[in-house]
């Protein structure tokens, strides 16, 4: 069984591209934050920095992975977004612009 979300092809393309670009911004962001040198900082500043960056590196890393997954989830077949079932279609629909958040989901 296959379900589709009725939105324009251009919207789908742009959404996929933006999720992809967001991933490309976030992936190096967490890496840079994780690898910022503490070698020329005092030990107490270094440990405060460590405590600061630990949760945010994790958060940005997760966000980068999620953005990649979201881009990959928008699988366009022909000029349609096709998903495995209605639940998947609704999930992917929520990755598209809010203005199409109520776009009809139809079974093929």
């Amino acid at each position: 069984m296959t379900d589709t979300v009725e939105v324009s092809y251009a919207t789908l393309q742009t959404a996929k591209s933006r999720w992809d670009q967001a991933s490309d911004e976030l992936a190096p962001a967490w890496r840079r934050l994780a690898t910022t040198s503490t070698g020329s900082l005092s030990s107490r500043v270094a440990s405060a920095l460590e405590a600061f960056r630990q949760p945010w590196v994790t958060e940005l890393k997760n966000a980068a992975s999620e953005a990649t997954a979201n881009s990959e989830a928008i699988t366009i077949v022909g000029v349609q977004l096709q998903t495995t079932d209605a639940a998947a279609a609704q999930r992917v629909r929520s990755l598209l612009p809010y203005v199409v958040h109520a776009a009809p989901v139809r079974e093929l």
Binding site: P28, S40, S42, A63, Y98
Partner: protein, 610 residues
């Protein structure tokens, strides 16, 4: 001795900076770059989110994209707090580093003087010097107390700088605290700030006044939200432009390198990545040099536009902070210069910085400025058209307008007594400087080197320049391209499509400083054109930049008959070289020169001429 003479005790040493200015600056730059990356991602998606997402509308909870944007906003808010704190920390550590050196020098001096006094007292055999010893001891007690107080204050300030930075990081070191920071009413409204700056960005003095009225948190938030706007706005202080541009350089490299590794880089993005990497190379190259005025790195990125001018990019790089320096020189390069040619140009500007500084007439800043479309040949049709613009003043006119704006920005951000400001243009860049001067750029001195022509026949027509200096080697063929101001009696018709008038002629009204003539050999003619940042010419430019006009050596202006015309130069140089093959080329050149400069550029490869 009649009593005890109190010589102060040894003043103990105090700790070196455990957190260094370099470490603090690297951290601040990295945090800014991370913030730029995150805000870019947020910006890509936020316009598509549920309209009330910032207010946590219930609808948004069902919309994954909106929830994602909210998450990124929390991270942005946390990073804003960290970046503002890191910026403040960096400033304080750099200031503490500058403060430490004279205190340490005085401490060592006091201790040495005390030891010497004790030695002399111990060696005294009578009371004849007792009053002198007492007086010296009293002076030393005062000095010791003062330096001890300064050390205590320094240690306290250092401790406070670290404690405040640590406290700021601790305020946002959980995801929940990031959410709180995002919801804080006092969070800077970057959209409003951006709109305010956009309204006044063409008025550097208004920009400077507006920027000075912002809080540090507002400045940092706008910097990481829109580094291109902040980093390139004339009127924003150099230090802040540099912070914005560095963040943009590293964020661009982060993002574009990721796209490259994903195989998604477009041709335009590839050029931008190359340009960003060229700027980073220079930052790395000069990283260990410290600006004696600020304690920061010596290099400042004042303009960074990696995608500008068909991929050539725009960049300005200063040695020394021009806002604080006593003597400031801004240099405009000419034909064939792009961001890729930064290395050689910065070598020249660093040489000028060092040589001018050696005059010991105040502090110096030298700036490389390339924010115009310097004609540049490349293999594609557009590149060929671009290169042929070397015969046309249009790019110089447009560039001159930009450069005049940049100079106005330097005036707006200048601190303390007005800096002595010099504009320097080389080759086509000298024509660009001429147009900037004609546009009203206000400088104390202008130096035109290797100039193919100026837009006016007399320097007095430049409205706001104190003194115009001209460096033209007689054996630099490019300097012979300018239209003669003096009546021609040699039968050659003055060119009509030149870049302007030859400033080396006496009637132009400039002072021709000594450069030497260069070598009279065909194979060296091009080298002559690129030799102004060497030897006598460099030293004279350095004297002009430092305001030491009396030390500048001069040479005679050009008058008909006292120099070789272009056809004569090429002929004589070819004869000297004994190169018959070259002579054939020279004959072609002589044939062409009577018509247009376009003919000249075809006769010889112009890439290394202008």
């Amino acid at each position: 001795m009649g009593g005890v003479i109190e010589v102060p005790a040894h003043v103990p040493g105090f700790p070196a900076l455990e957190s260094t200015p370099e470490g603090a600056e690297t951290l601040a730059t990295d945090l800014r770059a991370v913030a730029v990356d995150v805000k870019n991602a947020e910006s890509l998606l936020s316009g598509w989110a549920e309209p009330g997402w910032q207010g946590q509308a219930r609808d948004a909870q069902d919309h994954a994209l909106t929830r994602f944007v909210v998450r990124l906003d929390d991270a942005s808010a946390a990073l804003d707090v960290a970046v503002a704190a890191a910026g403040r920390f960096e400033e304080r550590i750099s200031a503490l580093s500058l403060r430490r050196a004279p205190i340490e020098t005085e401490r060592i001096s006091v201790n040495a003087d005390c030891a010497e006094l004790v030695r002399q007292i111990d060696a005294a055999t009578d009371d004849s010097q007792e009053q002198t010893f007492r007086s010296r001891a009293a002076t030393l007690r005062t000095r010791a107390a003062k330096v001890s107080g300064e050390i205590a204050a320094w240690v306290r300030d250092y401790d406070q700088a670290e404690s405040e930075f640590i406290a700021a990081l601790e305020r946002v070191d959980t995801l929940r605290e990031g959410r709180i920071a995002a919801d804080t009413a006092s969070r800077p409204d970057v959209d409003a700030l951006r709109a305010q700056l956009r309204r006044i960005e063409n008025d550097p003095r208004a920009v400077a006044a507006w920027w000075a009225g912002l809080t540090p948190a507002q400045r940092e938030a706008l910097t990481t939200d829109d580094p291109a706007l902040v980093g390139n706005a004339n009127g924003i202080p150099t230090r802040d432009r540099d912070e914005a541009n560095r963040a943009a350089v590293y964020a661009d490299i982060d993002y574009l390198s990721q796209r490259k590794s994903d195989g998604e880089l477009t041709e335009g993005e590839e050029e931008q990545l190359t340009n960003a990497e060229k700027v980073r190379e220079q930052l790395d190259k000069y990283r260990d040099l410290v600006d004696p005025l600020t304690g920061h790195e010596l290099g400042y990125v004042m303009v960074y536009k990696p995608g500008e001018y068909g991929g050539d990019g725009a960049v300005a790089f200063a040695f020394g902070d021009p806002d604080l320096a006593d003597n400031v020189a801004a240099f405009v390069p000419g034909f064939s210069n792009t961001t890729s040619s930064l290395d050689g140009n910065l070598n020249n500007l660093k040489g000028l910085y060092d040589t001018s500084g050696a005059d010991h007439r105040g502090s110096t800043s030298t700036i490389f400025w390339l924010d115009y479309n310097a004609p540049d040949f490349s293999g594609d049709p557009a590149g060929i058209v671009d290169g042929l613009m070397v015969t046309n003043p249009l790019e110089a006119m447009a560039g001159g307008h930009h450069f005049a704006d940049f100079i106005a920005g330097l005036h707006a951000t200048d601190q303390g007594p007005a800096a002595h400001l010099t504009a320097i243009g080389h080759s086509y860049g000298s024509t660009t400087v001429g147009h900037a001067l004609l546009d009203g750029a206000q400088v104390d001195d202008a130096i035109l080197i290797g100039s193919p022509g100026q837009p006016v026949a007399n320097a007095a027509l430049f409205p706001h320049v104190g003194h115009v200096w001209v460096g033209s080697m007689d054996h630099d063929p490019v300097t012979l391209l300018g239209e003669s101001i003096e009546p021609r009696i040699d039968g050659i018709t003055a060119a009509t499509d030149t870049l302007g008038f030859d400033p080396a002629q006496g009637t132009f009204g400039g002072t021709r400083f000594a450069t030497g003539d260069g070598t009279l050999r065909v194979e060296d003619l091009l080298q002559n054109h690129s030799s102004y940042f060497q030897g006598q010419s460099l030293h004279n430019m350095a004297h002009i930049v430092s305001g030491d006009d009396g030390a500048v050596t001069t040479q005679d202006h050009r008058h008909f008959g006292n120099y070789l015309t272009l056809p004569e130069l090429v002929g004589a140089a070819s004869a000297n070289s004994g190169a018959h093959a070259l002579w054939d080329g020279a004959v072609d050149l002589v044939d062409d020169v009577g018509s247009t400069i376009t003919g000249l550029t075809h006769a010889l490869d112009p890439r290394s001429w202008l």
